[in-house]
């Protein structure tokens, strides 16, 4: 399986650099002292990352003229720019005082930046994610809807190079049971590591305090035990270490069936 997460030297006059991440086909080339980037969403997911496809005339290029004039570009995986709502494989009830670990696989975005200046040229989603609303009709936040499910184990799921494995600990400190069907996963504080030839995020710890209270969320930045630290491919979008308290589990959108008109 070809590794696309590395630095590339893009020279003028050469044929475009080409790679695939998920269903996204990307071409990069140097022309007229500018960096040109094009991408296309393919109909079918590729068998491997090193796919090859026709670069037709109709494709539209984005162009950058940059003062550094550098030809070295870094291609790195990053988390999407909005939180992700993840649903459980099956509805799960977590009793009071219980702590469980689940895993989720999130499709990455491809970040194309100059290797020497970290100037970001473009970020492209590997696959199109549909958007969803987490909250009430009055307030809430826009999120992406994850196409993958949260699971207790990753053993039976095939690893894909454009999916990052996210280990999540959930602790129920409320007096009542936590009926876990879906939750809002705030990925902005997670970096991406490469370990054991897969993409991994640091552990997230969510402590549930009850239906009407916010959950405490902290990102440890450490990979699960049994894995080495690996190589840090990308830092978090929002690298804040302190824990945050936000609504994570509750979904209050129950007037959809009430209104007749």
């Amino acid at each position: 399986m070809a590794d696309i997460w590395k630095d590339y030297d893009v020279e003028a006059g050469q044929s475009p650099i080409e790679f695939m991440s998920g269903r996204r086909h990307v071409w990069i080339q140097q022309r007229n002292e500018e960096t040109w980037i094009a991408d296309r969403l393919e109909d079918k997911p590729p068998a491997s990352t090193g796919g090859s496809a026709e670069l037709d005339e109709a494709i539209s290029w984005s162009r950058w003229a940059h003062k550094s004039g550098s030809n070295r570009l870094s291609i790195r995986p990053v988390f999407p720019d909005l939180p992700i709502v993840i649903s459980s494989e099956y509805p799960l009830t977590i009793s009071s005082g219980t702590r469980i670990q689940i895993f989720s696989r999130i499709p990455v975005w491809v970040r194309i930046a100059f290797a020497d200046s970290s100037y970001i040229l473009k970020e492209i989603p590997s696959i199109e994610l549909s958007k969803t609303w987490f909250g009430t009709p009055l307030e809430g936040e826009l999120c992406y809807w994850s196409p993958t499910k949260a699971r207790r184990s990753l053993d039976k799921v095939e690893s894909m190079p454009y999916l990052v494995n996210c280990p999540i600990w959930i602790t129920n400190k409320a007096a009542e049971d936590l009926h876990f069907e879906k939750f809002c996963f705030r990925v902005e504080r997670l970096g991406i590591h490469r370990s054991d030839n897969q993409l991994w995020a640091g552990e997230t710890r969510i402590v549930y305090h009850g239906e009407d209270a916010n959950s405490d969320i902290s990102m440890t930045g450490k990979l699960p035990s049994g894995l080495d630290e690996g190589e840090l491919l990308s830092r978090p979008r929002n690298p804040i270490q302190t824990s945050l308290a936000v609504r994570t589990f509750k979904k209050l959108f129950d007037d959809t069936f009430i209104s007749a008109r």
Partner: protein, 295 residues
Amino acid sequence: MDSTSVSDLGLENFVSEEFWMLAIRVAIILALGFPILFMLRGWARSFFTKRYATHYGMLAGKIVFYTGLTILVVMVMGQLGLSLAPLLGAAGILGVALGFASQTSVSNIISGLFLIAEQPFKVDDIITVGNTTGIVMSIDMLSAKLRTFDNQFVRIPNETLIKTEVVNLTRFPIRRFDALVSVAYKEELGKVREVLMEVAEKNEYTLAEPEPQVIFNAFGASSIDLQLRVWGQSDEYLLLKNSIYEEVKKHLDEADIEIPFPHVSLYSGEATGAIPIEITKDNQQYAEDKSDLEE
């Protein structure tokens, strides 16, 4: 011809030194006061806009400006030796007279205060008042100003805004769009529902949650009427509306589901029987009659 200079006129005989000093003091007050006032207004506007919203920024700017202007006027009057007491007394009497004459304006001012307190909308919100829909540009003492989407300026008196129904289209971050879809009676509703849900799932502006719904509306005159209810972001509402209708048409066509047009069935007394036809002339007689007419 003799030339006459200013000094020859003997201005010092008409204008005293005291007057010059007074004029200079007033000029200094105005020269310093107005730039400071504009600076304070700009600061208040940007501070409250950044910290809260554009609406509060504009409001704070106006409060600072008019308060400062009042202080400047009072200071200038003080320099000119004009007492405020008789002026306020006169203003009281004048106020009563003006009050009767300008009831509408006063009503608008008071309505404006209610609008500020109640906040049914803010600057930059999109509202509908009567038949007018537009973006709120400002909420002032007497009126609110809107810019419609075809770029017209509309001034709506505050009193009207208090009295009539105002719909704020951007108050909440998400909105539901109900697409009306009609299909022929012969179509299988399960299949139609499946196609419509697929449209909703694949549309880029539709939110996955709240979940899209297909609601049975009515047995119409020529069709079964359904509603496809989808949610999207308020600022993408038009894109959602356009794309949903286009995709519904495309997918229904692909699935060979008929979108009927209004049609009327004629019956002659008996619903299932054919309409009886009576032939009153044979073909030969008809041809002869026709040729007679042509001659």
